[in-house]
Symmetry: C2
Subunit: 106 residues, 2 copies
DNA sequence: ACGCAATACATCGTAACACGAAGTATACGG
DNA sequence: CCGTATACTTCGTGTTACGATGTATTGCGT
């Protein structure tokens, strides 16, 4: 998928990936992979950005003798997902603009 | 609309704006405005990029004693629009991933 | 015991890109 | 003659996705 198109989707996708239950970096990448692939460096950048925007909180916990960072979505993060649904409607209107046939063309 | 979300849409929108008949900068901006707003500096950057990618051709013509650059879409540009329809399907699947309710939540 | 893949997170430099600001120049209405 | 619309251009900046690279631990096969 085109990298430019991904840009607006990635943040929301990461939020969606932790929406139902806390998750951590490696798992988020795996969960998102079937829908949208992203590299580790990208993910951790996004997670930091979302934390800064207070759309998620971080908690460090031990798992199998190793430290993991668990991410939990906040109300603000949930709101971001809700906002995305509105943006989707705008995108739909743009989609129709792009794909509309010339009048009298068919 | 979120700037990141716009990024993947702008190129295709500009192509769509000149698809049915040749157009020029100022008019393209006006035609797109109801769907997606963009500044002049952005538009001319995009037009240059699309020309480089051979998705449109440029022709300078006089109009009312003033020079105008008219842009015409090429086959490659039309193909880009067709490709966008496939990308849209990918986006739809991402949209469903983002907005799906937790199983057993309702 | 040793190596190697998988797990897990972090940092750095780069290139693409949208935008505001500012500039240039002409047409036209009041 | 002045302001607004038209029309295109250039420059600097901030955001961002990514590859490359590094660090460290677990667990499995042999």
């Amino acid at each position: 998928m085109d990298i430019q198109l991904k840009r607006g989707l990635l943040d929301v996708c990461v939020l969606a990936a932790i929406k139902d239950s806390d998750s951590y970096g490696y798992k988020i990448i795996k969960d998102m992979k079937p829908y949208i692939a992203l590299s580790e460096s990208t993910l951790y950048t996004i997670l930091k950005r979302l934390e800064l925007a207070q759309m998620l909180t971080v908690r460090t916990a031990e798992h199998g003798g190793r430290l993991r960072k668990y991410y939990r979505i906040t109300d603000r993060g949930l709101q971001r997902i809700a906002d995305f649904q509105n943006e989707w409607n705008e995108m739909l209107s743009i989609y129709r603009f792009v794909t509309k046939e010339d009048a009298g063309n068919e």
